[in-house]
């Protein structure tokens, strides 16, 4: 049983990982067909993972309601919103869920008038918080903070028309700052990040990194 629960998944990850690396370099049509098939399987399995995510969310709120935790009443609204959207999706303008997705209808109405404004407003609020944070915490305490502050101000002025009004070369200075020192630093970070990503991927394939299997038992 230990073999099935722990060892078999590691063997599968290793074999599939090595195959995926190998077929990247093999130009033969069979290898390319295999890559295409495995990629398609991966996509289909990924869509089931979405269902897992939705179930997890609903389960979390169900537990909150069942245990009457603080704020459990709000979890009812999660179910209300979910039910409204799901009914609209299943109704599908009278065509039902087995027909192709219909254009327009309650599903689109809820998307454009509830989902989009709520999502956009959540992000729009950040403008206020970032202004407050900039006022309260952005202090030029050290030399490095001064460099950061000057770069930020140059970029903020250079990227908008007001910068061009203040000094005609401000946009050029901003662009040079982005294309040279910023680019150099970002490239350094990028090289480090992707070296780490390659190392992590190798650790996953060779079974050193097992956190994706979840759980600590067996």
């Amino acid at each position: 049983m230990i073999f099935l629960k722990r060892t078999l998944p590691l063997i599968i990850a290793f074999v599939i990982g090595i195959i995926a690396i190998a077929i990247y370099y093999i130009p033969h049509q069979t290898a390319q067909n295999l890559q295409e098939t495995l990629a398609r399987w991966n996509r289909i399995i990924a869509s089931f993972a979405f269902l897992l995510g939705v179930y997890s969310l609903m389960h979390l709120h169900a537990q909150r309601i069942k245990r009457q935790q603080a704020g459990w009443g709000y979890s009812l609204f999660v179910y209300l919103g979910f039910a409204m959207m799901l009914i609209a999706a299943i109704y599908n303008r009278g065509n039902g869920p087995l027909a192709g997705q219909a254009d327009g209808g309650a599903y689109d109405w809820l998307y454009y008038n509830v989902f989009v404004p709520a999502d956009a407003s959540m992000f729009a609020m950040l403008a206020f918080f970032i202004a407050s944070a900039a006022y309260r915490t952005f202090r030029a305490r050290t030399i490095e903070a001064v460099i950061l502050l000057v770069a930020a101000v140059v970029v903020m002025l250079g990227r908008v028309p007001i910068g061009e009004l203040l000094w005609s070369r401000m946009p050029d200075l901003q662009e040079w700052l982005m294309s040279v020192p910023n680019m150099a630093a970002k490239r350094g970070i990028l090289l480090g990040v992707y070296l780490g990503a390659v190392a992590t991927a190798l650790r996953i394939i060779f079974g050193i990194e097992r956190s994706y299997l979840g759980g600590t038992e067996e």
Partner: protein
């Protein structure tokens, strides 16, 4: 006075931002908008497709409603540019949240330019998988997208009939709010499937894209709302992005003012504490905001 200013209620700061942005939107002043070279590169890349028989551009909608003000105007203007030059447009989404926005963009642009669905444009919809979807599209486009969003077979549509793989598209533009542009398109599509890639990204992501611009993996870049306004200038449209530049400028000025005032107050407070302290050294406990303060 200095302490009160430094610990001001954050809602006052919010009010300044709100009033500044709202008043800049209500009272218009013409501001110069000069398209930058990276934005011009995207425009010229799409312009180069004009005149090619069966020239088709792929737009990948990889953003959600949270990034709509920055990327939606660029999407619509790129489509308009393509339609005006009789270039076909195929859309797809790597983010599920983008589907409705993409459909709205196609509706708006195709109606404005009198273009026909299935003949001049189509929207393929969303498929999960990110890099695995790109690999599928790279080798067999029709196996990745057998049907479009409305269920029409891609073999039956004039706009996608001759597309067999990703490299058949003359230009690809990814409108990205996340890591799909570098983690997916640049890594898996550009090198392997010889894709000409242009990008339109949110301003947050823009600084990270410059290494790819320099290495020419990314052929051009439209950054945020300012980039969208520059693109509108190139396609001779005065849309929401252009109108957004005035409040953007005012908001930046307000925030720079706040940062400067904050620092001036901070240094004045330090100087005051240093002069007041018997040892002539400012006490560090006075620098931090009291833990009970808001924001």
């Amino acid at each position: 006075m200095i302490d009160r200013l430094l610990n001001i209620d954050r809602r006052i700061v919010f009010l300044f931002i709100f009033v500044g942005v709202a008043s800049a939107m209500l009272f218009r002043l013409p501001l110069p908008i000069t398209p930058r070279p990276d934005v011009v590169s995207v425009y010229e890349g799409i312009d180069a497709v004009k005149g090619r028989p069966g020239g088709t551009v792929l737009l990948s909608f990889d953003y959600g409603p949270g990034s709509e003000p920055e990327l939606q105007p660029t999407a619509i203007n790129i489509m308009r540019q393509c339609f005006q030059n009789n270039v076909r447009v195929v859309g797809m989404a790597l983010w599920p949240d983008a589907v409705g926005l993409a459909r709205a963009a196609f509706d708006s642009a195709s109606r404005a330019c009198g273009k026909e669905y299935k003949k001049d444009w189509t929207f393929l919809g969303y498929k999960p998988g990110m890099e695995t979807l790109i690999i599928n599209m790279g080798q067999d486009f029709k196996s990745a997208f057998g049907q479009d969003y409305l269920g029409t077979n891609t073999n039956e549509m004039e706009v996608t009939r001759d597309i067999t793989k990703l490299g058949d598209f003359d230009y690809v533009v990814t409108l990205a709010a996340g890591r799909t542009i570098d983690g997916v398109w640049i890594t898996y599509a550009v090198d392997r499937y010889s894709v000409k890639l242009g990008g339109a990204v949110t301003a947050v992501m823009s600084p990270d894209m410059f290494p790819y611009l320099q290495s020419r993996q990314l052929k051009g870049l439209v950054s945020g709302l300012a980039g969208a306004a520059e693109y509108e200038k190139l396609v001779n449209v005065s849309g929401s992005a252009t109108r957004g530049m005035q409040p953007q400028s005012v908001a930046h000025a307000i925030i720079i003012f706040f940062i400067l005032i904050g620092n001036v107050m901070y240094f004045l407070q330090r100087r005051r504490d240093r002069l007041a302290s018997p040892s002539g050294v400012a006490s560090p406990s006075r620098f931090a905001n009291p833990s009970g303060s808001r924001g």
